[in-house]
Amino acid sequence: MTERYVVAIDQGTTSTRCIVFDRRGQLVSLAQQEHKQYYPKPGWVEHDAAEIWRNVERLGPEALRRAGATVDQVAAVGIANQRETTVLWDRVTGQPIGHAVVWQDTRTDTMVSELDTEPGADGVRHRSALPLATYFSGPRIRWMLDHHPGLQERAERGEVLFGTMETWLIWKLTGGLHVTDVTNASRTLLLDVHTLDWSPESLAFFGIPRAMLPDVRPSIGVFGTATAAFPGVRIGAALGDQQAALFGQTCFAPGEAKCTYGTGSFLLLNTGSELVRSTHGLLSTVAYQIKGEPAAYALEGSIAITGSLVQWFRDQLELITSAPEIETLARTVTDNGGCYIVPAFSGLYAPYWRSEARGVIVGLTSYITKGHLARAVLEASAWQTREVVDAMNADSGLALKTLRVDGGMTADNLLMQFIADVLDVPVVRPLAAETVSLGAAYGAGLAVGYWPDLEGLRQNWHRAAQWLPTMEATKRETEYANWQRAVSRTFDWIQA
């Protein structure tokens, strides 16, 4: 019998990857291409959606070639994508209108703070279960409609379409199917998280015409059949990248959580069919929805700066030449020497949400070496994780028992051990570091019957590494108190 595979398209912020997975959920081949980042003004970040589509068109066949497979051996394609990035395009020509506005882009900040005080804002917040913030897509659509002459009228006539990246890719893959999934839709501020459909009131609040929006579908279930890149293959799943990682880690039960350590880090906790509204600065979001079943929800804590602090250490301070060397340097000393780095480079995110905070290095003495600084860099990622976990425990009423981790920084043993130490729970890495892609593949495979059920996917999950806490409780508490004092030093740095 010919082997059959599932392909994941991981459309990320810096690159697009196509990954071929086998029935055991193991990576068979990978093709990757970075795309250009446009920074036209301070705080603006853009992508060329046409370039990203061209990359997908090329990477798909390339990944199959590397696997020695043909397109008829592909059971299904799944998509995991950078979330909240906003694409508008012409329904007739298929050409993007301007560049896509990326999730990191803060051009809408003035508009968002104005909208925040308007009478309808509370309703938007309640229906979407999100704070009004530049992070989400809705305000970006408004901004684009305001800044392209005549676009509002064209959008109302249905000539201009909106999508996040998965919508754009499915539209291109199928030659015109205009759909999104509930996880991506839940990041727009426009979705009613209980009905799982666009809220007419929220659309009216932003002045966004319904005609330009895609239909909202479950994350897992056949969307349509591809005519390009993977002709004849069914598209079985689409998920926002962090939700895909949660799914790839098989966190299907309430109380199960994962943290993906990349440039930033994202901790998601499955809260089951119940939406939990955070009172500790976390986001409520849709985790996934399987066709014909109720949606699963999640609490999300995002940490803006983790891997990017290591990159800063490498590129701006030039104390190391490659990111993994941070561990080598950190191991030249046995502790942080009393030094703490709080990377509030653009304010503090969860659970503080202090935009006026800026980064600090505290505890400097003549004793401190670059080794201590390297330790403080790694420890900062762990303490930020601890703060988010504390907030999650408080919101959900559940105490985290194990943290499942993935992402590039899980290669750093010193960091993983330190995370186990400061959380005082085991930290576990699964036998598949590429959980974002794997989640998309799992969803797609599930939709077409390649994998039978969630239990079948759980069977694929295996422990590849585990770090157990070894730090003494008194030391942990002292260090945490020091960290929190360091954090307090970052507040109110930018004065209005």
Partner: protein, 246 residues
């Protein structure tokens, strides 16, 4: 071979105390065409012998040049670059995976993936293994690591003499992989293959280890499909580290 002479001249010039030099300055000093000089500099940059200042675009000696003769590839970097291929090896073989490199005449374990059966196992990254009694060690010895002076015996099967070791290493070089069958621990076996970086230089080894009945057939020969899995993983890591396809 002319290009090697020219590359050597570029390195001498940059080491000559002039500090950072521009492409034009280097080309003029050596009386070379700019295009040729640029090609040489790009290759030297790729292997880390030369670095280019991001702001001025000028060139200087790279960190790898200063580390020549000591560590070639940072062990944490090696782990980071091989993690995507170690996982599938563990999944396909069903055995624990380790990646090793040489430290003071022993094998330093730089990466460890648990045997995927979800039993309790402990990470042994950072531990040291004897070179002559492990597949990882023999893969490293076969391609240039210095053999230990004394060959400690761990089991009746441990390689006991330098002559025996030399013969074993010849066999490794011939077939491209290594094995230890109850040479360190009774009942345990391991299979490994070398990891190569730029220019084919061996920078580490990747292998699996487990019960001898699982790794070997009834005649105590390593099972061919497991050997193939190990070699495929070693090739995949090597390709990512820039070794030419072979």
């Amino acid at each position: 071979m002319q290009s090697i002479e020219r590359a050597a001249a570029v390195l001498r010039l940059l080491a000559g105390g002039a500090g950072r030099l521009s492409l034009g300055e280097i080309a003029r000093s050596l009386d070379l065409a700019k295009g040729t000089t640029h090609g040489i500099l790009q290759t030297l940059r790729k292997v880390g012998f030369v670095e280019q200042d991001r702001v001025s675009g000028q060139y200087q000696l790279g960190a790898a040049m200063l580390r020549l003769g000591t560590g070639y590839l940072d062990v944490n970097e090696l782990r980071s670059r091989s993690i995507n291929w170690a996982d599938p090896l563990a999944a396909r073989s069903g055995e624990a995976v380790r990646i090793g490199t040489v430290l003071d005449g022993q094998v330093l374990v730089v990466h460890h993936v648990f045997r995927p059966d979800d039993t309790f196992q402990t990470l042994d990254v950072g531990s040291l293994l004897p070179m002559h009694a492990t597949a990882l060690g023999k893969a490293l010895l076969a391609y240039g690591a210095t053999p230990p002076a004394s060959l400690d015996r761990f089991t009746s099967r441990t390689v006991g003499t330098q002559r025996e070791l030399a013969a074993a290493l010849r066999a490794v070089r011939e077939c491209g992989w290594s094995a230890d069958i109850e040479e360190l621990t009774p009942g345990e076996a391991s299979i490994a293959a070398p990891i190569r970086a730029y220019g084919g230089l061996v920078v580490g080894a990747i292998g699996i280890s487990g019960h001898v009945e699982r790794l070997c057939d009834s005649r105590y020969h390593p099972r061919p499909h497991l050997v193939a899995n190990v070699r495929d993983a070693a090739r995949a890591v090597s390709r990512d580290l820039g070794a030419a396809r072979r």
